[in-house]
Symmetry: C2
Subunit: 220 residues, 2 copies
């Protein structure tokens, strides 16, 4: 591998970890804003969305330049095309964090209803999945990636608990329907962020082991 390509690949790893860090932060802040009813924090997440978008565009451009300039093959080629997909996943995850923040803005403007007991647990689990999926990518570590895939089952289970809780709330008191539905949306968005982290982890397993594990693992 040329020194130039090597340097560009290292830079690409740094960049993807940086955008991943922004997604983690946005997700954590959105859940905190939801839990602590912090309007200003929710608005910060929405404002910061454009930072993630900007990074995504830069990373995609960098990938295209590397493909054109170095014409990489084999593992390097697969790494760069994986980053193109993962980068796109991260941008969507940033959008989902903004969607959660928007639910927080709405809910904070209304009288409070009981906060779903497992929502902050799912939030923390999801943020960990995001971090570990990118760790696995950068370190080419299939074991860590497989752990992320398994963690998704726990997120799905917690999600079902939250939905049951919200259904009970809506049945008990019709005046809570809109607010419970907002929590339902927020929890679905979180679940989807975790799904994206799983997609990233599946791509990492394919990159490292050449084995396709996506499809058929989880249909929710």
């Amino acid at each position: 591998m040329s020194k130039h390509l090597e340097r560009d690949l290292e830079q690409l790893s740094c960049d993807i970890v940086t955008i991943g860090g922004l997604v983690e932060e946005a997700t954590q802040q959105a859940v905190t804003a939801l839990q602590e009813r912090r309007m200003e924090l929710a608005e910060l997440v929405i404002r910061n969305g454009s930072k993630i978008d900007g990074r995504e565009v830069e990373i995609e451009d960098a990938c295209l330049k590397m493909l054109a300039l170095h014409q990489p093959v084999a593992e390097d080629l697969r790494f760069i095309t994986s980053v193109i997909k993962i980068n796109s996943d991260l941008e969507r995850m940033g959008d989902l964090a903004m969607n959660i923040a928007q639910r927080a803005v709405f809910l904070t403007s209304q009288d409070p209803i009981p906060f779903p007991s497992q929502l902050s647990t799912i939030g923390a689990a999801t943020v960990t999945m995001v971090r570990r999926s990118l760790d696995a990518l950068v370190k080419r570590d299939a074991q860590t990636a497989l752990q992320v895939c398994r963690a998704d089952d726990e997120v799905d289970r917690l999600n079902r608990e939250i939905i049951a809780e919200l259904i009970a709330l809506m049945k008990k008191d019709a005046s809570m329907v809109e607010r419970a539905l907002s929590f339902f949306s927020a929890t679905r968005h979180l679940e989807r962020i975790a799904d994206h982290a799983t997609n990233i982890a599946e791509d990492v397993v394919y990159l490292v082991e050449g084995e396709i594990i996506r499809h058929g693992m989880n249909v929710a």
Copy 2:
């Protein structure tokens, strides 16, 4: 451009239209299953999911081979990397159609509740968006792509109408909460399929005009 690359690019266009056709069909069938309470059709959509997954893997492999073999530059390179992302979008859209079919399985097993009046309209609009986004890709047609982006606003508007209808239903009769929530999920999945079609259309505009229009157009 070499004859070989030209032939491979044509084949790739065909393949992406084929997988797109499967996604359109699955989406349409899932909505029909929901509306006509047809359990066997919903189960067919779920069984056919693996076909879409299989195609996705083949297309991604074909893209990687083309990059390694032909080392394309400029527009050809951008077309292939766009297809990598679009292919991944289509696979997710197939999963979402399966999710709708799963809601149809649940709802068909329960006593009926009023079918949301705009749901089949959203379904038809979404299927059209999927078809036109891929038309735009294959014909490198930015105008059609921009129409898809604009159509997404109408889907979002109809979606808000459906949600208002479902909220009214849940408030009126607590015994309908679970079923209304299933329709809510189904309609959200449809909205997300339309979002993916919009992402594809945005990629097409970028491919054709070199102009990035994603980000900031619609945050829902």
